[in-house]
C-alpha cells in the first residue's frame, strides 16, 4: 500500500464525497475514483458504499480510516524527525507542545529547571488548541507534550506524572455562587443560562450540546465573562485568572493529572534530560 493511496482514501473517508475530496487533494475526481477502486481491489475489501447520491464507510473502511491516519502520521513523523536530525545544532533542540493556558506555572518551572541543567538544548514551546497535542506528538511536529488526564488520552505514549490537582468552577465575577466556599458538580452543570462550553473532540469536530463552541481558553474566558458559559478547570488556572472571573472549588470533580508524554522509542539525550528535569520538579513540589 502506498501513502498516496492512503492519503486519497483518508480524504474521501473524511469528506464522504469524491468531488470535494479530489478538490482538497488538488486532483480531478476521476483519478481519485480509480485510485480508491484500485485500493479496494488490491486489499480485496469494500471500503465505501456508494450510491450516486451518498458515500458511506463500510466497517472495514472505518478501520482503514483510523489505522491509515496513524500510518500517515508515522510516515510524516519519520520525515520530520529525519530532517530535524540533519539540522543538528541549528534548529530547536526540542519542541514541547501543550494546551495554551494550561499548566503555565509548571511549564515555566520546567523550562527553568531544564535550562539550568548542563548540556541543555533550546526548547521551542508550541501552544496549541484543545486536543491537538496528541496529533503533533504522533506526526513528529513535537517531541514532548504536557497532557492532562483524563481530558487528553495518553495511550501509545510513554509518560511520567508531574502533578495532581483538583478542579474549580470558573464563573463571572459577581455570580451568586461565587460567595460559596465550594460547590458540587451538580451545582455547576445545572446552572440556568451558563452551560459548559463544548470543546472539539479528537477528530476536531464539536460534539452536540447546548453550550457555545470554544476552541481555546481565551475564547472560553471571554464567553464566561460575557455570562454565556461556565467552566470547570484545574485549580492551577487560578494564578492567571482574569479579574472579571471568579473560581470556586468543585469538591466532586475528577482530579486532573498533568503528565509529560513522549513517543515511545524516541529517547534522545535531550529528551531524557527534559524528562529528568520534569520528574525532578515533582521532588521539590510534592
Amino acid at each position: 500500500m502506498e501513502t498516496r493511496e492512503l492519503r486519497y482514501f483518508v480524504a474521501v473517508a473524511e469528506e464522504l464525497h469524491f468531488g470535494r475530496a479530489a478538490q482538497r487533494l488538488g486532483i480531478a475526481q476521476p483519478p481519485l475514483s480509480r485510485a480508491i477502486l484500485q485500493l479496494e481491489r488490491r486489499l480485496g475489501v469494500a471500503l465505501l458504499e456508494r450510491t450516486s447520491r451518498t458515500v458511506t464507510l463500510t466497517e472495514a473502511g472505518a478501520v482503514l480510516l483510523r489505522e491509515g491516519r496513524a500510518a500517515l502520521d508515522a510516515v510524516d513523523a519519520a520525515g520530520r524527525r529525519t530532517r530535524r536530525a540533519a539540522l543538528g545544532g541549528t534548529g530547536p533542540g526540542l519542541v514541547l507542545v501543550t494546551k495554551a493556558g494550561a499548566s503555565g506555572d509548571l511549564l515555566s518551572r520546567l523550562l527553568d529547571a531544564y535550562a539550568a541543567m548542563p548540556g541543555a538544548v533550546a526548547v521551542d514551546v508550541v501552544l496549541c488548541g484543545i486536543g491537538e497535542q496528541e496529533r503533533q506528538l504522533r506526526d513528529g511536529r513535537a517531541d514532548v507534550a504536557l497532557l492532562h488526564r483524563p481530558f487528553d488520552s495518553v495511550t501509545g505514549f510513554d509518560t511520567e506524572e508531574l502533578s495532581v490537582e483538583g478542579q474549580v468552577a470558573i464563573l463571572p465575577a459577581g455570580h451568586p455562587l461565587t460567595g460559596r466556599a465550594h460547590l458540587r458538580m451538580a451545582d455547576v452543570t445545572a446552572l440556568p443560562g451558563l452551560p459548559l462550553p463544548r470543546w472539539p473532540g479528537p477528530d476536531g469536530a464539536y460534539p452536540d450540546g447546548p453550550g457555545p463552541e470554544a476552541h481555546d481558553s481565551t475564547q472560553m474566558y471571554q464567553l464566561i465573562a460575557l455570562g454565556r458559559a461556565a467552566a470547570i478547570l484545574p485549580e492551577s488556572c487560578r494564578t492567571h485568572l482574569r479579574r472579571d472571573l471568579a473560581a470556586v472549588p468543585v469538591l466532586d470533580a475528577p482530579a486532573v493529572t498533568t503528565v509529560i508524554a513522549w513517543p515511545p522509542h524516541s529517547r534522545s539525550r535531550a529528551l531524557a534530560g527534559l524528562v529528568r528535569a520534569a520528574t525532578g520538579l515533582v521532588q521539590h513540589v510534592p
Copy 2:
C-alpha cells in the same frame, strides 16, 4: 514520502550495500541508487555516506531507519487490520502472540476463561521466537500479546499486569548445584563451561558473548541438557520442564512480570473481552 521510497531506504540501510539491497528488493541497482538520491534531495538531507567501497549511515539516516521501520509497520498494520475487519466472522476473531514455551499455564487458563465468556470469538494463538512479539503487534499480524518484563519492551502498547514471579536457574540434571536449595545470580553466571545462551535482540541479531546462540526455548533446553549452557528463567517454566533438567530458585534474579499488551486505539469488543478475562484471572490467582 512514499512507502516505496521508505522500503528502499530501509533495505539499503540494513544491507549497507546497494547491490545486495537491490537484489533483496527484486530490482536492479541503478533505479535503487536513483530512488535514494531522490529521497535525499526531497528531504534535503544526506542519509548515507558512500565511497565506491563502503556505505555508512549518517546520523539522520539512522533516525530515518528507526522511524521508517515504525512507519512501514504502521502501514502494514493498516492493511492487515482492514482485511481482517472485512473478513468478519469467517477469520480468526483475535490473534494472540507469545513466546513459545513461556507462560503456558497462564495462557491455557486465559483461553479457557475467555472461551467461557458470552460472545467469545475464536482466538488464534501464534507462538513465535524471542523478541518477535512486539513486531507482530506493531505490524498488525497479532492483536494482543503476552509479554514478559523486563525482557520484552512494552513501550507504545497498552498493558495490564497479569502475574509476577521469581526466576530459577535451569541446569542439567545431576549438576552439582542442583543439590542447593537456592542460588544467587553470581553462582550461575560464573559457572565454568555453562555460559548463558545468547538471545537475538530486538533487531534479530545476536549480541556478542561466550554463550551459544539460541533462537527458541527448545534449542535452549537442548543446549542445557547437552551441558553446553545454563539459563535463568521464570519459575513457571518448572511445570513443563524436561526430565533431564533441574531448576533451582535464584534469589536475587529480577522478578518477571507477565503482562497482556495490545496496540493503543484498538479496543475492539473482542479484545476488550479478552483483556477482561485476563484481568479476571488475576483475581482468582493473586
